[in-house]
Amino acid sequence: MRRILQKFLVDGLVVLGIAVNVGLLLINLRPERPHLGRRAKARILLRASDPRIQWMRANEFNEFAIARDVDFEFVSAPTFEDVHQKLIEEKQLPTGLLLADVDDEHAQELKDGGLVRPIADGADPAELRDTVSDFIREAAARGTLDGKQWYLPKRALVNVAVYLRPAIEDAYLHWEEDRKAIDAALKEANGAGLPKDFRLRRTPDRWDSFDLFVAAWSWAHHPARWAEASRRIAADNAVAPQTAPRVAWPCGDSEDGSGQLLNDLYRHGLREEQLGQLDAPPLLDALQWQALFRKHGLLPEQCEKSGLEQRNVNGLFHERKLAWAPIDQADSVWLHGGARRDAEAGIPGPGDLSWATLPQGVSAELAAGGQPARRGRSFAFEEVHLWAVPVRSPDPKLAFQIARFLSQRGFQQRETEAEGMLPVREDLRQDYPIAFRLVWMQSLLDASFRQLERGTADLPAGWAGDDWDDKYLKLRQAVVYGRPKDAPVTLAAIREAVRRASATAAAEATHDAR
């Protein structure tokens, strides 16, 4: 019996050995790794436009798809609010969403609502540590809640100022022609005029609210050769230089408008605990400047009507109708147009573009020494986009692997160059002057990283949640745009207008409650 068993064992081993050799012979014929597994389907929710999704598919996801036998399907959402809504629907009726693109503003809310699960659940702890250590510490921290890695950083965006260099040159050379008029306009508002010894600073990087007002005044009162009539557009000089407002930012009651207003308040020194204090000096200062810009026609007409969203502001700049505007990295790359071979054409004469930090907010009111009574800072909210795993994600491990794959240096660098963003990897933040060698791209990234150093913060938790965004927009509408254009714009007048507007709002609220 033992012999029979031994014989079977030996014969079995011989047969197995021969089979292995046949297998190795076949491997020799085609040595690439076989794709044995079933093809997996991965649905990814992205807050991105179709062209951006197509770029990501071709340049980032396809490589993963080939290597790991994954068929990607992308679900597009125009805003993060829509992403939030889709995640709620996904929780109720799962459709197989594997991974979603969310922003840090919604991170806590998504967790509290049970719409996502920690990305760490799908990761080996050592792998997760290794991945997280590649990110900028602050960016990684935005994805950490209660000491656990719920999200992985994807990219960041921060507003900076974009400007046309010839326009700055023009304002710098000629603003004094308007000094008297500017002084008179400001005197009407603050009783003193321009600050003592005021000179327009040469670079917008050092500007404060007065510099922006002066430059905007100068541009709005003289025909601009460097704008739409520039020879870069009209070589035959068919378009005569026009006089028009050349500064714009999102206005009206859109989400962009509310974001811009909050940025403005923080630039003038508002703190989170001051939200809701309607007599807070930063609020009055910010509204006084906006009223001043409006009163003297320094902003586009659309602000009087339906308002301007960021894309409208970008569109005006794209037509070379603006000289200065706040903008983020993705829009900057679109505006320039020279980021990649197949990019849409950008502004005519993109070489004239440059970027700076946003101006420091200062009060129009002057102190006894003739200098601004209150100083804020240069400020912009940083928006960090994160990879999140929906709570009913069919494969959290695969979700983590995809997020990790996409966080590699090469992908971050190419996406920054081609689509525009602030990289969230520490090595790219350190090496950006080496990694991004185009002059204009360096200027953009320099300004962006400088902006983060000069002033940034998380969005206040209650801004959208407690409807402060709506309340402040209504207040701005009443104080800045709800009064006649020639209404006084002194601090006292603004304070009175705020008081009246808040009283009206309170009365309406009481009426609604009844």
Partner: protein, 224 residues
């Protein structure tokens, strides 16, 4: 005499002879068994050696293929990196040229400004002609450097992709190499088996060879 009992000494001799014969028979049987065992051992070692040697040959080929694939991908990445670096150098040179044009343009503009003259002033036609020329060349530089940048972008993407493409064949090659080494060690054990005729060495060799084959097969499937 017939019927006479053999002497005592002769009987003992016969017994001794019988014992001797029996011993010889036992020894012959043992020798036969050992020879049969050695023969069987040799046969098994031969079969195992043939299987492992054949496998080693196939593994050598496929390892070389994967190694070449990884090497080719790395070479392509390196080539892309080198070309990119050369183009960046060209870009820098163009930027330096552009800077000199910008300085020349700015000089004319500053001169016109200092003299309080506009571009349409008939007395500065030559200056304006030169100025326009500089401006056009600066614009051309911009267009050219943009093309260089797009090419560099392609090359950097290629470098990146090729670097990643080298990872999988490298992992395969490493496993094939490790498998090959284990099989070589197994073959050495099998050789020693023939010299020492120890069965446990045969099984050690076969086990090690089997592990080597498994590691090599993982070079293909990359499961671990």
């Amino acid at each position: 005499m017939p019927g006479e009992k053999p002497p005592q000494g002769a009987r003992e001799e016969t017994a001794l002879l019988r014992e001797e014969v029996a011993l010889q028979k036992r020894e012959a049987a043992q020798r036969g068994a050992r020879e049969a065992f050695i023969e069987q051992l040799k046969n098994r070692v031969s079969v195992a050696a043939i299987i492992l040697t054949t496998a080693l040959s196939f593994i050598g080929n496929v390892r070389s293929d994967r190694g070449d694939a990884a090497g080719a991908a790395r070479a392509a990445a390196e080539s892309a990196r080198r070309q990119g670096a050369e183009l960046w150098a060209y870009y820098q040179m163009k930027m330096a040229e552009k800077s000199s044009m910008e300085i020349a343009r700015d000089r004319i503009r500053l001169d016109l400004s200092a003299r309080g003259l506009q571009r349409d002033d008939p007395t500065v036609r030559l200056d304006v002609l030169k100025l326009t020329g500089y401006e056009e060349r600066i614009r051309d530089f911009d267009a050219e450097t943009e093309r260089v940048f797009f090419r560099v972008q392609d090359l950097e993407a290629q470098e990146d992709v090729q670097q990643r493409a080298a990872i999988e064949p490298s992992r395969s090659a490493f496993r094939y190499e490790l498998g090959g080494k284990l099989i070589t060690l197994a073959l050495i054990l099998l050789s020693v088996t023939i010299l020492s005729s120890k069965r446990y060495l045969l099984w050690s060799g076969v086990t090690l060879g089997a592990v080597g084959l498994l590691v090599s097969l993982d070079g293909y499937f990359l499961l671990f």
